[in-house]
Amino acid sequence: MSSDHDHHDHGPHDHGPHDHGHSHAVDKNDPSLRVEAIESLLVEAGLVTSEKIDALVDRYQHDIGPMNGARVVAKAWTDPDYRARLLDDATAAIAELGYGGAQGEKMVAVENTDDVHNLVVCTLCSCYPWPVLGLPPSWYKSHEYRARAVREPRAVLKEFGTDVADETEIKIWDSSAEIRYLVLPQQPPGTDGLGEEELARLVGRDAMIGVRLAGVES
């Protein structure tokens, strides 16, 4: 940590004693007061920065969203029967693990192989399998992604750092209000001995959209 004295005078969470921006707590035991006190003491002691707290909240809120989908994928990797059920009827197989859409959309899992790489897009709007992937990333909703994923998928994948061999076919799946697609990525090499929980951590949101491979940091 390099910041020493520069953390008193900037940032949205400047909790000096003359900070008038906060609402006045009515109860001395208000937890928001205690949290603010903890943060201000730790910041003054140089043990945390408010910027770091901001970043971590953001990261955990967004990165663990896809955990449900990751568990589906990890189970499919370790359990061939489950994999078969997932590819046959993803809605039912995902429901087995307790996940499902409130609006009852049909889920379809598409399997990456050496011959086929799958990529999901919603060309009309931003349909997304949120019960398994959490909230969609902002780029998924962009006009650019929606148009280019169909027109030049290889170039789009390259921008995500994903090189797909020329002989591998790229299939585009257009999500709709009725059908939501989940990519079943290939299990990274050398991970056969891992358990489901460990494998699930290798499965990022982007791998289940198809823009990256599993095991590749986003």
């Binding site: 007061l33 943060e39 730790l42 920065t49 707290i53 955990y60 809120q61 663990i64 949120w130």
Partner: protein, 104 residues
């Protein structure tokens, strides 16, 4: 390599979630979460120790994040990151600061 929070999926130490997303009902809850995450990441708090504290405290609280805050206070004090007296003093100062926002 930094340390991360291996948040449990179920059991008493698992945080509330909807569709995989963490659920915070108030800003202080996400703040308390972020403070603990930052301290764990920098190795100032031990995550297994924090989880053990959660397992202990969650059953005694109606709200998960209340238990999180109790654990955070407890462990920042036992790990000498914050002195108990300074926390009481600072909380009082913050409580007694001028309201400022409603003098118009």
């Amino acid at each position: 390599m930094t340390n991360s929070l291996e948040l449990a999926n179920d059991g008493p130490s698992a945080p509330p979630r909807a569709n995989g997303e963490l659920i915070f009902d108030a800003p202080w809850q996400s703040r308390a979460f972020g403070i603990a995450a930052a301290l764990v990441e920098d190795g100032r708090l031990d995550w297994p120790q924090f989880q053990a504290a959660l397992i202990e405290t969650v059953p005694h609280h109606e709200n998960y994040w209340d238990a999180w805050l109790v654990s955070l206070v407890d462990l920042t004090e036992t790990n000498d990151l914050i002195a108990p007296s300074s926390l009481v003093l600072r909380t009082t100062e913050l409580f007694e600061r001028p309201a400022g926002h409603d003098h118009g």
